[in-house]
Symmetry: none
Subunit: 225 residues, 4 copies
DNA sequence: GTGGTCTAGACCACC
DNA sequence: GTGGTCTAGACCACA
């Protein structure tokens, strides 16, 4: 916690980073839908920047795998098919499972504090019934989970995966679980951490991921890859 | 309200502006106290910037009157005496009175909405009993009041005055009003706006300001100017 | 009041401050017109200073609101639209009205002396028929008015507002009142102070400001904001 | 598997991608060492490209975490400390463990074929005794392992992690295992896959990773992070 | 003063 | 026409 008015280094992020965040968010929420082309001129105008830094930002997203580059054609938002959904959640499982293990063997106290806070936010969002808010809180919970592992590489990998997972949900909103169910699943995860029951926790996180794949691919019209 | 993920211009403020904000906040909260000298080298290191932009930022604060420049000696945080307290609150009265008049003759609906929100924050802060939070909320209320006038020049002038007013309070915390009283005074202001009673509103804002001067200068040990 | 020949500390102002004054004056008189870009290299050469202090001076004017900063594009003289004219004069009204009140309740004698002198200068300028001289004298009268309030914050705020008001006039010279009218209006203000008629004074200062807004926005081609 | 002579689309990769590969390779092999600054002008000249595409490529590596950006200072090769070594190998463990599971439950035949080939290359490299060749073959083995999982996200994540792991080794070459040992460890992994012994395989891959962390951090002088 | 950063504008290749 | 690419030039910040 910062004492108010303390002198701290001014946080100055590069323009490319700011733009990348903006684009990532737009892709995540579906403002830029899978398959959409990203026109440089338009985007630059909308974002109030010139094409240079915009191109740098887009290359970041290409690197992440959120954009697909076709030479001399342009950049497009990557499209997701059923096998992508599976890939994404299996990869998330790998990352979050490792995070869980690290948490159980590490500083469980801090993790509990942060995750409890995240769960409270999720409950609050569930009460409003707002799908977007619920998704945001869901995502924040899992981001916190990985962050609590203390492993920056896992965090880095999770960041992209969470955005991709969100894309899956955005395209097919109808299959998102009910508010009660969503809260309950995360409550169980938290309980397992509280109880120190690692085996249970790993089983829960596995089913949490794999069930989601089932749900999405069951309900979804097949998208092109 | 922004739809999430909408593409918006990336907000990029200059380094000098960011530093100025940081310094203003530090002065406001007393981390840089009246009379303190601002060493370029130290500050630059603490803020993680080089001396160039730091000097530019400091010149901004000199222009605002928060810093005092002594040639070839350095820059110092301006000290406030009783007559400054009076000056500040009389100037605030001029600005906020004008704002009130504009609000009563302008878009009262929007003003009510924003000020009600600000009052709620103040009530919440009062419940915690945290002096700093209460001051912040108090300040935010008045900033909102002036902002609702729609007059950018009044806003600009208020910005500096609010910081100076805060400096007065920071130096002499003991005289800050009780939580109940604070909330009540602002509630009355809001009620007057709701009722459309301009005459009452102007009387209230006047006493709100002049009473504060009394309270501060009564309770305060005389500071050097 | 300085007794002539008294030895007083020479006011050694910083380079940045001197440069800022130069620039402010240039903007005020239209040598730097609204929308103009301020090239660092050129200006530094013209003023015979290096870029460092020049940048510091320009940041002062940005803080005042006379310049607008576009990141990595440069600094530009702020452009004024009709709503700016309104904002400026309403803000001036707030400041000068407060000053008038303080004068009527304070040392009216000194105020009368200084304002009478200022009015004489205005009359002299009116005789020459030189528009710039008249504007200068007009501005000096109002600066003196606010200065007589004895409130340094009001003076500080007036300083910028007077420059902005002058910019409005510079852009649209044709609407400036006739010499007779100008003198008469200020004579009335002075009379009201002499007579101690506060109510009349406030009414006069209000119409003085608001009429000017009317005159400017009526006669002026709409400028971009 | 390409049948030789088949006509396939030429992989026309963007300039930025090609440059990124070059840089990544240079970092991996230590031609660009941790802490080194990447001067735009120099690099552009050396690579025979202009600064635009170079900047785009560098932003890719920033996104990957191989470069660190300091605003207005430049880009630097990220430095690795002991805790980074741990992070990297734990993350690799998560990725490769998941890959192993997928292989055991998927198309084990193809995996065996590709991994046997990779092991043969490793053996050949071991015979030459060339450290770099051994590292290359080691890396190729693990890249193949993850690739056999068929999960593109795991592949993507492994790509960066393998480069980072290689950086760890490059900095501290002396701790790289003996040729015999290296071959033996990988032979065991292959045997476990052949035998279909998933439990053993997971234990082997875990110790393979964690032992490496031990070895590196034991033998290494503490590097700055 | 040097070098990072961004903008603006031009040219060329592809569709 | 649009995007990919590159150059020129200015601002910005560091040393």
């Amino acid at each position: 916690m910062n004492s108010p008015g303390r002198l701290e280094p001014v946080p100055r992020r590069s323009t490319a980073e700011l733009i990348a965040d903006q684009l990532r968010s737009a892709i995540m929420h579906g403002a830029l839908a899978p398959g959409d082309q990203l026109g440089e001129t338009d985007l630059a105008a909308q974002l109030g920047v010139s094409r240079g830094p915009l191109r740098e930002a887009m290359q970041r997203l290409v690197q992440e795998g959120l954009l697909r580059s076709e030479r001399h054609r342009g950049l497009f938002v990557r499209e997701l098919g059923p096998e992508d959904v599976h890939d994404i959640y299996v990869a998330r499982l790998a990352v979050e499972r490792a995070s869980c293990e690290l948490i159980m063997r590490g500083n469980r106290g801090e993790a509990l504090a942060r995750l409890t806070a995240a769960l409270n936010d999720l409950v609050a969002a569930a009460r409003t019934g707002d799908r977007t808010a619920m998704s945001d809180a869901d995502q924040a919970f899992h981001r916190a989970l990985v962050s609590c592992s203390g492993n920056h590489r896992l965090e880095r990998m999770a960041e992209t995966l969470l955005v991709e997972a969100r894309m899956c949900l955005t395209v097919m909103q109808e299959v998102y679980p009910e508010a009660d169910e969503l809260v309950e699943e995360h409550q169980k995860l938290l309980d397992a951490i509280t109880d120190g029951d690692e085996e249970l926790l790993l089983r829960l996180i596995e089913s949490h991921m794999l069930d989601t794949v089932e749900r999405i691919n069951a309900g979804a019209p097949t998208a092109r890859n």
